[in-house]
């Protein structure tokens, strides 16, 4: 696989949200607005690139039987670092994302890519895979957040489009996350077949 196709793989063909359906917990939880979705996506992207890189380096010295705990420790270390850096330099976003940042540790995408890709590939393709998957995740979350924000509170990226009084509140609440995600997956599938 060429480097370019490794990179675009995560964006479209194996998009983590709309195709692989991985990492649904943060997807449904944080996407109440486009900004939150983008913030969560970028934080995950950052962790993905670093963990993929680190794991592609150490994969040969980690015995098979303990590879999962080994990977999790590496991922958890990066997530904690991201968490602290965000609290220090982006306190507003950190407050909005709250509990979901530490939860990146158990996001299936991160461990999934470590297991499926980084442990079998060299450093550069692993980083590209992390970047592609991370950006695919970010784009999907931003899109889902924007749809929910638009339908639910009449805003896109916090800019009012129509009066909030006419928004369908359910789209900002938990059931709306499932509805909007379902619609978006249906649209993606429609275009995939065509």
């Amino acid at each position: 696989m060429s480097n370019l196709s490794t990179f675009t793989n995560g964006l479209f063909k194996e998009n983590p949200i709309f195709v692989l359906l991985l990492g649904m917990c943060p997807t449904l939880g944080v996407t109440t607005s486009a900004v939150n979705g983008a913030g969560m996506g970028l934080a995950t992207c950052f962790v993905l690139i670093l963990s993929n890189l680190a794991i592609s380096w150490v994969t040969n010295i980690i015995p098979d039987k303990i590879r999962i705990p080994g990977y999790i420790v590496i991922i958890a270390a990066f997530v904690t670092i991201v968490d602290m850096c965000m609290a220090a330099y982006l306190p507003g976003l950190h407050a909005a994302l709250g509990i979901y940042i530490p939860l990146i540790v158990v996001n299936c995408i991160v461990l999934g890519r470590a297991e499926a890709f980084a442990s079998k590939n060299k450093a550069l393709p692993s980083m590209l895979d992390g970047l592609g998957m991370g950006l695919g995740f970010t784009l999907s979350l931003t899109l889902l957040g924007a749809v929910r924000e638009f339908l639910g509170s009449g805003k896109v990226f916090s800019i009012p489009v129509y009066s909030e009084d006419y928004g369908m509140l359910i789209f900002v609440l938990a059931p709306g996350a499932f509805l909007a995600l379902g619609y978006l997956i249906a649209v993606v599938n429609r275009f995939k077949k065509a």
Partner: protein, 212 residues
Amino acid sequence: MGKKLASTFGNMLVVLFGVTLLASASVAYVYTLTKEPINQARLNKQAAAIREVIPGTFDNDPMADKWSKESEGGRVLEFYPAKKNGETVGTAVKTYTQKGFSGEIWLMVGFLPDGKVTGYTVLEHKETPGLGSKMDVWFVKGGKGDITGRIPAENPLKVKQDQGEVDAITAATISSRAFLDAVNRAAAALQGDATSYDSTSGATTSENTESN
């Protein structure tokens, strides 16, 4: 790719120990780097909240002149007096309620020396987005449930559903009650009326209490 290390007990022990050691070392290093900025960000947020709820100018540092009162369950109400030429022109009170729809709500409420509410900011809440979360704009000056200018110490604030005078947030009466509870608690504690509000207990000043 090259050959993997065999899964013998010795290998596993050494590798897992090495991985955890490296990971904890790097986390500890970043912790020391970010400790100061995190603290600073929190102080900035606090200072911004105080400035927002106290109108007009003051020449002291309310954060330095802070005093506090213990409340139930070890929670601490904090008072930040704003002074001009040594005279108190207003006090920002960091207050809370446990009556929220989900979890605690923490507010910073500003009072004039005569007990009038000047404004507030929501520091922390977990209310429903789109319903209870509207409290950050609902009770402000000019908002639908405007509480500024009222004196909760004389006349505790209540929502209209409880024969009070404040309009509750549409479809979020519980959050509105909780919000007013926090404001009333702050007002009662500020007046020094320590016993009447819940178990808000004696005036113990403590300098080093940081609740967050």
